[in-house]
């Protein structure tokens, strides 16, 4: 080991507890960034597996961009490409299973029927039989399925499964059982392609092509070639990223990333502070090293090496802790996912990017934070070795950093007001840095004010404590800033979380005002949803006691290469059972407008993403070609709050998108109708539509709120994790400020201060610091939270700012309690100082 590393390592070990505390800050920061980023890919992977399950050997899938069946000739088009080895056409559709009306909610309501071309499918999928035989080309009514699914459905080889078909029902005979395990949410049965085309009434059209690539072909370039060859009517790959669950995950990921960034920013500050202290404590050592011939560069190198070691250690531990946290959170969420979304999630998965980001951030933040202190160390003169400075070395000039801080604050505003989430993150970190720079300039006047109430309690010690703070604003500012950074990020995150949830709750209340909702069993993946023909709406509308009724239909369009869901509403009836939360300038008149031709209403996300203004023309690529629509209004509803969405009339949806089926029904009860009787009537109607469920809106709302609340718990845990570094920072700086004043405390004892008075003095000082830190933190946090919420609105997550009263109160209490707790140790050790040795301490 060379000298620099030896010294760095020895020093790091030498200041044991303090190294540990500062390293812990890095650990927590890395843990959050790494752990949280491990959760999203895992969930995505679960979805992927869900959708492409069993498709073991498939390299590539082709589906219609508009979810439309397409000509089998596309297969030949595909096979002309040199990269494609095998292309197997298929049909996939979801059919409801006949269901016992009394069945519990866990019973399987639908299966995915996959029609496969017998000749080619074995090249793209594995069919390992445990019993019976595989499908042959001539099978018209034969069916194979996974053995475990068969068991769940109570089927055996030779028995029949009746499936609803375009005309009547078709009876399929189970001829083989497969060994593969069924992924919940992706229950599939396999029949021959012609049988499936017959079942779904598709003629000779197909819905998907699964293909394998020639060995050694690069997947990305192959996908590119296929896209180019087939044009924009087809999408290559498997998973469309527009399901609402994915959107939720993306919102969550944004918050998660912010948590990680805040934690690392706080960690960076704690480390910078810690190294500043360390440099101050080692001035004599540094002076000696300079005197005996160490270059400035080498001194800097020693401190940077020390920070590098600390960064590596902290990052390694943080990654381990992050892995454990991700695994723990996923394990905790697994039951929720499997019951609500029918999805199994595995262990955490970390992408190469996550690894790299975490390592770079963890090590990088530590080293960067140490740069300024290391430079300061390089500037220590060798004279320090001869005549050590007795005066404290913490005091620093206030002027310049405060001005820079002001400038940084101004720059941060620009970052926060842009639409890009990366800039919002950067802006908020800059804001915290700016506050940290400005803090020393304002600690003095604030201490003056804050100490008044304290003086009443602590008498003379209070005044002494205040003058301690004011005499060295640099040192006090460090403590206050550490506390402030921690608390500000907590308050800001609480603001954002509260606002997100209150936003959704308000959408929930406003946009879903119907008494009854009739929703498919699984509303999560729009691809898999079962739609109902017009007779369901007719029957519901004809039910005694039902007044207004309106339905939602779903189509998909492509705009500028991106996908958007198009919701069809009935302009005449929609507002009777639901409503929009309008953006400024739009009103209910926009809904009426939809009835007058090709008009759309955009939701906030879509409008923000495309910078739309009212009346603007939007060209939608529909299954029937490009059509020009105009924007009638901008408004949000609950169901689509997280997705880019356009609303148009059902008439337009039918004409341009060929969609005439209902995805969701909303109905009101007449004023005079009896609640129980109406529900009973409706239940009878719905019984014929096993894929749908009936909810009384209140119950559905309660269920949604319960989901929110369980999610909030996760956020609370994260906030708590974020609070730990600020406690550490406070304890650290307070302990150091006592250390730095050892002589002074010795002097006070020598001239007659009692142990009790010393203890009270340190205590008052800590309380004063934490009061100021908490006040700063709360104010900065409130502002930052407000800025973040507005910033997110600009991106399209329209949400009302909700003042986090509860979170604020909790933060203030926590801040002050931390202040008191942090003071206990230092106050005790200060009062126990040996007077003689304290005075002689150099």
């Amino acid at each position: 080991m060379n000298l620099t590393t030896t010294l760095a390592w020895r020093y790091l070990r030498g200041r044991g507890t303090r190294s540990l505390l500062t390293t812990l800050a890095v650990v927590l920061g890395v843990m959050l960034t790494f752990g949280l980023n491990g959760i999203l890919p895992t969930m995505l992977e679960a979805f992927n597996r869900n959708l492409l399950a069993a498709a073991g050997k498939v390299d590539l899938t082709v589906t219609s961009t508009y979810d439309q069946p397409f000509r089998p000739a596309v297969v030949d088009q595909l096979l002309k490409l040199p990269q494609i080895a095998v292309a197997s056409p298929g049909v996939t559709g979801t059919v409801p299973l006949p269901q016992d009306a009394n069945a519990d909610s866990g019973a399987l309501a639908q299966v995915t029927v996959v029609g496969v071309e017998v000749g080619t499918v074995s090249a793209v999928r594995d069919f390992a039989l445990t019993q019976g035989r595989m499908l042959v080309a001539t099978d018209a009514t034969a069916l194979v399925l996974n053995a475990d699914l068969a068991a769940q459905l109570g089927l055996a080889v030779g028995q029949d499964l009746v499936l609803p078909a375009a005309g009547g029902t078709v009876r399929f005979r189970v001829v083989g059982l497969l060994t593969a395990a069924t992924v919940p949410g992706a229950e599939q049965v396999f029949i021959t392609l012609p049988a499936a085309q017959q079942l779904f009434g598709l003629g000779n059209r197909i819905t998907q092509i699964e293909a394998t690539l020639v060995a050694g072909t690069d997947r990305a370039s192959a996908e590119q070639a296929v896209s180019t060859a087939l044009g924009s009517d087809y999408q290559v790959g498997g998973l469309a990223t527009e399901s609402s669950m994915l959107a939720s995950l993306q919102v969550a990921n944004f918050s998660f990333t912010m948590f990680g960034i805040f934690a690392l920013a706080t960690a960076g500050f704690i480390i910078a502070n810690s190294f500043r202290t360390v440099v101050a404590e080692r001035r004599r050592d540094i002076g000696m090293l300079r005197a005996i011939g160490t270059t400035r560069r080498r001194i800097m190198g020693m401190f940077l090496t020390e920070s590098l070691l600390q960064g590596i250690l902290g990052t390694a531990l943080g990654i381990a802790a992050g892995w454990a946290m991700a695994a723990g959170l996923l394990a905790a969420m697994a039951p929720l996912f499997s019951s609500v979304a029918h999805i199994t999630i595995g262990g955490p998965q970390f992408s190469v990017t996550t690894w790299l980001t975490s390592i770079l951030l963890g090590v990088g933040v530590t080293v960067v934070a140490a740069i300024l202190p290391a430079r300061a160390a390089g500037r220590v003169t060798p004279m320090e070795a001869m005549r050590p400075q007795l005066a404290e070395v913490y005091a620093r000039k206030i002027g310049k950093p405060a001005w820079i801080g002001g400038a940084v604050l101004v720059i941060s505003m620009f970052g926060l007001t842009t639409g890009s989430s990366a800039l919002i993150g950067l802006g908020s970190v800059l804001f915290l840095i700016g506050i940290a720079l400005v803090a020393p300039a304002v600690v003095n006047p604030v201490a003056e004010v804050a100490s008044r109430p304290l003086a009443a309690i602590f008498d003379r010690e209070g005044a002494l404590a205040r003058s301690n703070l004011q005499r060295n604003p640099g040192r006090s500012a460090v403590t206050v800033t550490a506390m402030m950074l921690g608390l500000a990020s907590i308050v800001a995150m609480i603001s954002v979380v509260t606002s997100i949830f209150s936003g959704f709750t308000s959408y929930l209340d406003k946009s879903l005002s119907a008494d009854y909702l009739i929703i498919p069993q699984s509303i999560i993946l729009s691809q898999g949803n079962v739609a109902a023909g017009p007779q369901l709406a007719q029957q519901v509308g004809a039910t005694p006691g039902i007044g207004a009724i309106s339905t939602l239909r779903l189509g998909k369009a492509e705009v500028d290469g991106g996908q958007v869901q198009v919701i069809g509403i009935e302009p005449t009836s929609y507002l009777k059972v639901a409503s929009f939360d309008w953006n400024a300038g739009s009103s209910d008149a926009a809904v009426t407008e939809l009835g007058n031709g090709r008009w759309v209403i955009a939701n906030g996300i879509y409008a923000a993403q495309h910078n739309l203004v009212l009346g603007q023309a939007i060209t939608l690529n529909t299954p029937n070609g490009a059509k020009v629509y105009h924007l009638a209004g901008i408004g949000n509803d609950y169901l689509n709050a997280k997705l880019s969405t356009l609303y148009t009339s059902q008439e337009n949806l039918s004409r341009d998108f060929n969609v005439t089926t209902d995805l969701l029904l909303m109905a009101n009860r007449t004023a005079s109708a009896d609640q129980a009787a109406t529900k009973a009537q409706l239940t009878k109607v719905i019984a014929n539509y096993p894929a749908f469920r009936l909810y009384e809106s209140q119950a559905w709302r309660d269920q949604q709120l319960a989901t929110f609340n369980s999610t909030i718990v996760i956020f609370d845990v994260l906030v708590a994790v974020l609070a730990v570094p600020s406690l550490l920072a406070l304890m650290n700086t307070l302990a150091i400020s006592v250390l730095a004043r050892t002589r002074e405390i010795g002097m006070l004892r020598a001239v007659g201060a009692t142990r009790r008075q010393i203890r009270r003095m340190v205590f008052a000082e800590s309380l004063l610091l934490s009061l100021i830190g908490t006040a700063f933190g709360a104010l900065a946090g409130l502002w930052l939270g407000y800025a973040l919420v507005s910033a997110m609105s600009a991106v399209g997550w329209q949400m009302p700012y909700s003042f986090p009263w509860g979170g604020l109160a909790a933060t203030v209490v926590v801040g002050i309690v931390f202040g008191v707790l942090a003071a206990l140790g230092p106050a005790r050790s200060a009062s126990r100082l040996d007077v003689v040795s304290a005075l002689h301490q150099e």
């Binding site: 000298l3 030896t6 010294l7 020895r10 020093y11 070990r13 030498g14 004599r284 050592d285 002076g287 000696m288 090293l289 300079r290 005197a291 005996i292 011939g293 160490t294 270059t295 400035r296 080498r298 003169t381 060798p382 004279m383 070795a385 001869m386 005549r387 050590p388 150099e842």
Partner: protein
């Protein structure tokens, strides 16, 4: 006359300006030949520490020239000055200034390791044995007495085979017995190992271990005499100059 290790002429150091101006050194000329042990004494503020700092290249003079082992300090950039300190000058401080996290051998070998020398520790062990710490090679500073710590510091100063050892109040923090031992050791540095030693001290008894005594007052050299080894010599010289 043997080769001069220290050659100083017209050395002036002024701190502050105007009314607050302090002339710490006021036209000092000094020549120290190879292997000579010089004590510098004088009341507080006489400029003796300033002189030492200037000789060590730790501070820069207002006017005047300093040459150490043939190198004119005023002409060297910081890195070369640093290298000169590392190779040709050894420092012994009042507060020992050992790195608390390194053991005796590691501390003493610091300058060699900074210089990237091979076998730094092996070469240092010899010096540690010579200063009487052969049985304390791997103790950390907090496991050594004050006198032992100062011996480590002296071994450190000698490890690079410097031409000049500068000692600033090397016994200021030691009891009288340890102080006498350090005095003897510095004498050996000069007589046995042939290094020039320049020591600033307040203690006339310790000053008496040197061969030559320089007395300073108000930034000037007021007396410069040869010592005969008598413990009382420096005290009498101070009395003669009215400095006691």
């Amino acid at each position: 006359m043997s080769k001069a290790i220290v050659e100083v002429s017209g050395l002036t150091k002024i701190y502050g300006s105007g009314a607050a101006e302090v002339r710490a050194l006021d036209g000092v000329d000094l020549r120290v030949p190879e292997g000579q042990f010089v004590s510098v004494m004088g009341p507080s503020g006489c400029g003796k520490s300033t002189l030492l700092n200037l000789l060590g290249g730790l501070d820069t003079p207002t006017t005047g020239t300093i040459s150490i082992d043939g190198h004119a300090l005023g002409e060297l950039p910081d890195d070369q000055l640093t290298e000169l300190r590392r190779r040709r000058i050894g420092f012994v401080f009042q507060f020992f200034n050992l790195i608390p996290v390194l053991d005796a051998t590691e501390n003493a070998s610091l300058p060699l390791r900074l210089d990237g020398a091979a076998n730094a520790e092996d070469r240092t062990v010899g010096w540690l044995e010579k200063v009487g710490l052969g049985d304390r090679l791997h103790n950390r500073p907090d496991e050594l007495s004050g006198g032992q710590q100062q011996r480590v510091a002296i071994a450190r100063a000698l490890s690079t085979e410097p031409a000049l050892v500068l000692a600033d109040e090397p016994t200021g923090n030691l009891d009288s017995k340890s102080a006498a031992e350090i005095g003897e050791l510095l004498r050996a540095v000069s007589l046995t190992w042939g290094r020039s030693v320049l020591m600033v001290t307040h203690d006339p008894r310790i000053a008496s271990y040197a061969q030559r005594l320089v007395l300073m007052k108000d930034g000037r050299i007021v007396d410069d005499l040869t010592l005969d080894g008598s413990r009382e010599g420096p005290r009498q010289a101070l009395e003669r100059s009215g400095l006691l």
